[in-house]
């Protein structure tokens, strides 16, 4: 029951995060399921050190990487499928929002990761630091640089 409660509290954020990091909408549910299966298996092993959300997102990160190593989906193939099926992130009516989306996807990987964990995952600096394995100062620094980069791109566009 405790796990089920945890799942209900966090699955929405994990799904939101996966929609950004997975290349394909079709994979999101599968990866999400596998994440929680792993979390359930390791539920008793959680030592209590740090946040449980951070522990979960660590599992999510590793599961996503393992998933793509196993399936080795090519980008071109996934893009074709995205064209046929629903997009991972639906196209918005607002062009500006879509433009910002593309700019976020154009950030450096380490900055993207922090942005997704922060805004999609809803993690605090401390939790992000625990998930990624860097100090809190580095998390703040990367997030700040990511936002500065976005500002620069927005200025160029305007």
């Amino acid at each position: 029951m405790e796990f089920e409660l945890f799942w209900r509290q966090t699955s929405e954020r994990v799904r939101s995060y996966l929609r950004w990091v997975c290349g394909n909408e079709a994979d999101v549910d599968d990866v999400l399921q596998e994440c929680y299966m792993r979390a359930l298996r390791g539920w008793g092993q959680y030592s209590g050190r740090g946040s449980r959300e951070a522990w979960l997102f660590g599992i999510v990160k590793r599961t996503n990487i393992d998933w793509y190593r196993r399936h080795k989906r090519h980008v071109s193939q996934s893009l074709e499928q995205v064209g046929e099926e629903k997009l991972a992130v639906e196209p918005r009516e607002d062009d500006r929002a879509e433009g910002i989306e593309q700019m976020i996807r154009g950030l450096k990987p380490e900055q993207q990761e922090i942005v997704y964990l922060r805004f999609a995952g809803g993690l605090s600096y401390e939790e992000i630091a625990q998930t990624v394995g860097v100090p809190v100062g580095t998390v703040r620094s990367r997030l700040h640089r990511g936002l500065k980069e976005l500002r620069k791109k927005l200025k160029v566009e305007s």
């Binding site: 939101s16 549910d29 399921q33 910002i100 805004f119 999609a120 936002l147 976005l150």
Partner: protein, 191 residues
């Protein structure tokens, strides 16, 4: 205060990461520095825009979440299960092929040995057996072939031995009795 520091504090405040004391200090600083207020406003707007873009999907997800949550676990993992079955199947096929190859090679080598053994036996059996006396007679008669064969060699040796002069026994030198032997005497038993 540098712009970068002000922006980071603004970012922390927008994300709820700044303590109450920190918020107070920032606001006091902004009161005295109007240009810093512009930096803070920019950063907060950017933060909000980013949050809306990235986390905005979560609002839509909330509507679908309740319906999809249970289906997530009810969904069978055919994809994963099939992958595992495929991997197991491949390994099973490899193992079976290896076993089959090993059995085939083993039987082939046994059969070839049997053939060789049979041939060898046949070859051996093809040789006519001669009695010893016949051979000795042949050697006595000077049959080189008989004497040159391995058996012939030993038989020739026997013949040579039989025909040889009696050996002269060498007389062994008499050993002098050592001190202890003398002490013990001829009939005394050793302890």
């Amino acid at each position: 205060m540098e712009r970068e520091v002000v922006e980071r504090l603004a970012m922390d405040r927008a994300g709820g990461e700044l303590s109450d004391d920190g918020v107070k200090l920032l606001e006091e600083y902004l009161e005295g520095h109007p240009e810093a207020k512009v930096w803070v406003a920019e950063m907060e707007e950017l933060y909000a825009m980013c949050a809306e873009t990235v986390a905005g999907e979560r609002h839509q997800e909330q509507l679908n979440a309740i319906g999809s949550m249970d289906s997530c676990f009810r969904r069978n993992d055919n994809g994963r299960g099939n992958d595992r079955l495929l991997t197991l199947g491949r390994w099973a096929a490899v193992i079976l092929m290896a076993l089959g190859a090993g059995i085939f090679l083993g039987r082939w080598s046994v059969e070839s040995l049997e053939v060789e053994t049979t041939e060898t036996i046949q070859v051996v059996q093809a040789e006519p057996k001669e009695g010893l006396e016949t051979k000795v007679q042949k050697i006595m008669e000077g049959d080189e072939e008989a004497s040159e064969s391995a058996r012939g060699f030993w038989e020739a040796k026997i013949v040579a031995t039989l025909g040889a002069k009696p050996r002269v026994k060498r007389e062994e030198p008499v050993q002098e009795e050592d001190f202890w032997s003398r002490l013990r005497g001829p009939n005394r038993k050793e302890n």
